[in-house]
């Protein structure tokens, strides 16, 4: 840090063990004016404790209704290079797996057209290419298309779906998250690229109840792998865990939420009353070598998760306790389409599907989906007497 540094505050964030985004901005700034101006504008924000971006008109590329977020600085005179500083949302491959070849191609395109700065990745899962002027958008996209990178979602469309690593590297996966994701992303290209809904709609897929892609909290459609039969057990490996340094009683049995698992220390016997197991994954997580999900696998589908705007955050709710999930995933696609249709017909502007269900009632949604009510949908029945009877029901 030289004495006349123009970024004395940010410079302090180059110290310390955690990777420094300031260093990254400086690296990009060495070859790119946009990155440099961005750094200086940020320094100004740090000084004045306020942001300097404004919302602008809609920008984009031909044939797409979304995928680019328009952004303009409030201080174009001071920071001319970022007068226009739009970001691309580029659809990532399932599970965020890359070959280095592919990544290098991407870097080349971005160095050519944009700031050289990226987010790997955005909170929805896209590759975020951070900052390009309006003129560069189309050429940049053309080059991206050349190397087979398509855009992700933005605006009132299906957003880029994402999934956990699943069968790619996880023994717990009860659905082929990577394949399902790739399949539906391709199936719903139109919905992804052309805003047509009342608001955004997100799909996230986790292979098991650990929900490593946080689907339950932040997707309108949360797909979570599970099984219907019995946890598979290798008794020898159970014993091995006990012989290791695991206190099976305290760490596994006492923490089982249903109390359906028992441990006999003398005989080193673990027994599970599978009928009472709620498949929470805890015991399996602790003893992956000894316990495995059952073989009759599929997914639970939960609907309605979202952030707090406007009525408070929602977690997604169980709507289909179990659905088989095998290619071509027709049941699942039909489910999504029917739900979208209902939402599209009934939703107000900027009303997510969970809010719509809340407004019109679960009853209306289940009816539209032609689904039977089952206790798995609720944590408890109603505690109030305010059920509005349909005259049909009263005879």
């Amino acid at each position: 840090m030289t004495e006349d540094s123009k970024t004395p505050l940010l410079d302090q964030l180059e110290e310390g063990p955690w990777p420094s985004f300031v260093t990254e901005m400086k690296r990009a700034g060495e070859k790119n004016e946009m990155a440099k101006d961005l750094l200086h504008q940020l320094e100004k924000s740090y000084k004045n404790k306020i942001g300097y971006w404004k919302h602008g008109g809609i920008v984009g590329v031909r044939g797409y209704g979304g995928g680019v977020i328009g952004r303009y600085t409030e201080l174009p005179e001071e920071f001319p290079a970022i007068a226009e500083f739009h970001t691309f949302r580029v659809n990532h491959p399932s599970g965020w797996f890359y070959t280095t070849d592919k990544l290098r191609q991407l870097c080349d395109v971005w160095d050519k057209h944009g700031s050289g700065l990226t987010n790997m990745h955005g909170a929805t899962g896209d590759i975020i290419l951070l900052g390009a002027p309006t003129d560069a958008l189309q050429p940049c996209f053309d080059d991206l298309a050349e190397i087979d990178f398509d855009l992700g979602g933005s605006g009132s469309d299906m957003r880029t779906p994402s999934c956990c690593v699943g069968p790619g590297r996880c023994e717990f996966a009860c659905v082929d998250t990577l394949d399902l994701l790739h399949d539906i992303t391709n199936e719903f290209q139109d919905e992804l690229h052309r805003p047509m809904f009342p608001y955004k709609s997100k799909i996230k897929i986790s292979g098991c109840a650990n929900d490593c892609v946080a689907s339950v909290a932040r997707s309108d459609f949360s797909v979570i792998g599970t099984w219907r039969d019995e946890i598979r057990m290798d008794p020898d490996e159970v014993a091995n865990y006990a012989d290791g340094n695991m206190d099976i009683q305290a760490e596994v049995v006492d923490l089982c939420p249903t109390g359906c698992i028992k441990w006999e220390a003398e005989t080193k016997t673990l027994t599970i009353d599978n009928g009472e197991c709620n498949r929470c994954m805890h015991c399996i997580n602790l003893m992956p070598k000894a316990l495995r999900p059952g073989k009759d696998q599929g997914a639970t589908i939960l609907v309605g998760g979202k952030a707090p705007i406007v009525h408070g955050a929602l977690m997604a709710w169980v709507i289909v306790p179990f659905m088989k999930m095998e290619p071509p995933y027709d049941d699942f696609k039909d489910f999504i389409r029917t739900a979208w249709e209902w939402w599209d017909e009934n939703g107000k502007m900027r009303e997510r599907i969970g809010e719509l269900i809340n407004r019109l009632g679960m009853r209306a949604f289940l009816k539209a989906m032609d689904l039977p009510p089952v206790p798995q949908m609720i944590s408890a029945p109603r505690a109030n007497p305010y059920y509005f009877w349909d005259p049909e029901e009263v005879k």
Partner: protein, 352 residues
């Protein structure tokens, strides 16, 4: 015509050979040491994963750097995680330790697995968004520098997910995090009537307000805001640059605790407000890093093994959370929104 709708690159082409061969046939995993996982296939094949912390806001140079490393040790394959960490996938055991040594030499942060804190999911902040109440990357950097030992080591009873969002939109799963750092505005928009008159479509601005706080001011050909109805969401500013909500004094940070996503043991939980406001104090936000460390360490030293933040708090009670952390309880923490009455206490059975 440009090509459209061709979809993302096919993940199959991205997978390293060991994954292709063991796809869907992994048998178990072991946590070798902090930052290193071993997955073993039914075939007996082994796959080591080395997890590396990332600042997420990275340059193309950095991407090329990690590509170089992956080419040297991993046959040119790598992946990112759902929390934006980087993972090197090692199929040849003999390359594992050299890779780790190389990473350490080059200053990469290896860790984030098992009972550690992982990369805080975060958002744009002052870098690229128009509604932030704080920065994102800077606070994350400050917090992770401070808590680095908890990233590289297993010193906690369970894992702990720290997340950050720079405004109420809460991009990311902030609302269900063990510790959430959330930027908040606290002042209604100031109105620049000239801009409103010249640049904004008044009916659209009125319609954008979720609480009905905005009314037309026909005389001024502009708008007025009923301050008591405004919850500072910034929707009006999105529609109309003449109504900024950001303010150096009004803006700052709130801290939320006890959220959870996985269904392991207990169902997912929302994070709940613990500290209603801390000032923006760049570049290192010491009030925030102190608060996060205090909460994390109070939990870590009191919780049982495998007990997440929210599970611990539910066991000991919120009254104990406040007395143990020393965080003052303030009226802002008491809910008064739609589901408020479900959070009031209807029993004399509480702790002093």
């Amino acid at each position: 015509m440009t090509r459209t709708d061709f979809g993302p690159p096919n993940y199959k082409e991205m997978l390293p050979p060991v994954i292709k061969e063991n796809y869907g046939k992994w048998k178990y995993h072991e946590r070798v040491k902090p930052g290193v996982l071993l997955h073993v296939g039914e075939s007996g094949d082994e796959l080591y994963t080395v997890r590396v912390g990332s600042g997420r806001l990275v340059s193309t140079d950095w991407i090329r750097d990690i590509c170089g490393i992956a080419e040297k040790f991993c046959g040119g394959h790598l992946r990112f995680t759902s929390r934006h960490n980087l993972e090197f996938l090692v199929s040849e055991k003999e390359k594992l330790e050299p890779l780790i040594a190389h990473l350490k030499e080059e200053g990469y942060a290896v860790g984030g697995t098992g009972h550690s804190i992982s990369n805080p999911v975060h958002t744009q902040g002052w870098i690229h968004c128009h509604t932030p109440a704080t920065d994102a990357s800077g606070i994350v950097k400050a917090v992770m520098d401070d808590l680095f030992e908890y990233f590289t080591d297993w010193k906690m009873p369970a894992h702990c997910r720290v997340s950050l969002a720079c405004c109420l939109n809460m991009c990311g799963a902030v609302h269900c995090s063990d510790i959430a750092i959330l930027g908040i505005h606290r002042k209604p928009p100031t109105i620049d009537h000239d801009i409103v008159r010249s640049k904004c479509e008044i009916p659209n601005v009125i319609a954008a307000c979720p609480t009905g706080a905005i009314r037309p001011d026909p005389k001024a050909k502009s708008l007025t805001v009923t301050d008591e109805k405004c919850m500072y969401c910034g929707n009006c500013y999105t529609m109309c640059p003449g109504m900024p909500v950001a303010d150096p004094v009004g803006d700052g940070i709130s801290i939320w605790v006890g959220g959870k996503i996985s269904s392991a043991r207990t169902p997912p939980k929302f994070s709940r407000l613990a500290i209603p406001f801390l000032p923006n104090n760049p570049p290192r936000w010491p009030e925030v890093t102190d608060a996060v460390r205090n909460i994390l360490e109070t939990w870590a030293s009191h919780a049982n093994k495998h007990e997440r933040m929210g599970e611990w708090i539910e066991r000991v009670g919120w009254e104990r959370f406040f007395s143990l952390t020393g965080i003052p309880f303030s009226v802002q923490l008491i809910d008064d929104f739609t589901l408020a009455s479900d959070t009031y206490r209807s029993t004399p059975a509480f702790k002093w």
